[in-house]
Symmetry: C2
Subunit: 200 residues, 2 copies
Amino acid sequence: MSKTTYHHGDLKNALIRAGVEILAEQGVSGLSLRQVALRAGVSHAAPYAHFADKQSLIAAISTDGFLRLYDEIKTAANAHRTNPPQQLLETARTYLEFATKDPARFKVMFSGVLEQEKEYPEFVEASKKNYEMLVEIVQTCQAEGFLPTGPAELAAISIWATVHGLAALALERQIPHTLLEQHSRRDLLNHALQTYFVKR
Amino acid sequence: MSKTTYHHGDLKNALIRAGVEILAEQGVSGLSLRQVALRAGVSHAAPYAHFADKQSLIAAISTDGFLRLYDEIKTAANAHRTNPPQQLLETARTYLEFATKDPARFKVMFSGVLEQEKEYPEFVEASKKNYEMLVEIVQTCQAEGFLPTGPAELAAISIWATVHGLAALALERQIPHTLLEQHSRRDLLNHALQTYFVKR
DNA sequence: ACCTGAACACCGTTCAAGT
DNA sequence: ACCTGAACACCGTTCAAGT
């Protein structure tokens, strides 16, 4: 009980963790800078020593989210190296599960942070890692004849859009319940992705 | 200058219009109940005579948006009755343009309103109209052999997810600019939807 | 029935001050 | 360098009161 004059040595990360917890417990509308500070045990002005503003904290939470998503997808990809089409399906399923497991965090990751391109380079970087891994998986599928030849980036964006759209529509409860009664989200995903594969 | 003791006969719709204007001019973060009231020329408490809370106003703005989207898509569909695959492409393009034309309104339509299922039946109704029109277009394409046979609802959700995902990723600037330099959003859309059509 | 003005609790942000 | 407390402008919501 001597050295740390203040609260932590790493308030910045404590604030990010507090934000993630609040998102999980109370949703997007519960995420206020003052509540984050309270949960981290500091005054409401303390976060400004580490983040320029609320947008900046949200960018940090999003970046953290993209890195975790990358880890999960990478694990799924490594588990299915021998079967490229299944590798694609399983990584997509991991993406969908990431979204449904923690909807508020997923929403924050894909909204809110405007003009990121210039303002938050780590955010852009973390997001790009996921995209590039998808491009690699697509290229493997193409090389082994499971996906049609052509620019891998084009195919990757189409597939990402399909998976992301399914996640977004599911989170917003836009998928008719008559469909959800007959098919699991996983079935819907598999069905949507089947169209991309080469028939043989 | 005699009969209307107060401001309008139709404050409710004036508030919705004011909200839509603010969204277009200032984005989602600019949409406050007090600013909406100010723009409509009433006190900040007046909206509560017509809407239970801010969520309820947002639900009304979203419902209005879905009805306008329906009109635009219906017009596009009618213009391409003779060519089912092009009908599908053009309605999808209309959806994508609706999103990019007024990003803040589109974001509000597909977020924010939680637990709608029970709370805002007109919202669910307006959203369902769009889905049902898509199912009809898909059925026409199937009947004429342009889409594979099978449950039209499954194909419709896949296609909707692809188009919606493309719109969402574009709005969040998640599509790499290297891709956007080479391909217009319309090209990306056409490329993604080509995979659904029967090859022949 | 429809609207106003005051009031309350909450929020993001700034800033002088403390260690 | 890192944090606090007071202050300011803004917000959503309620409520008594006015027509």
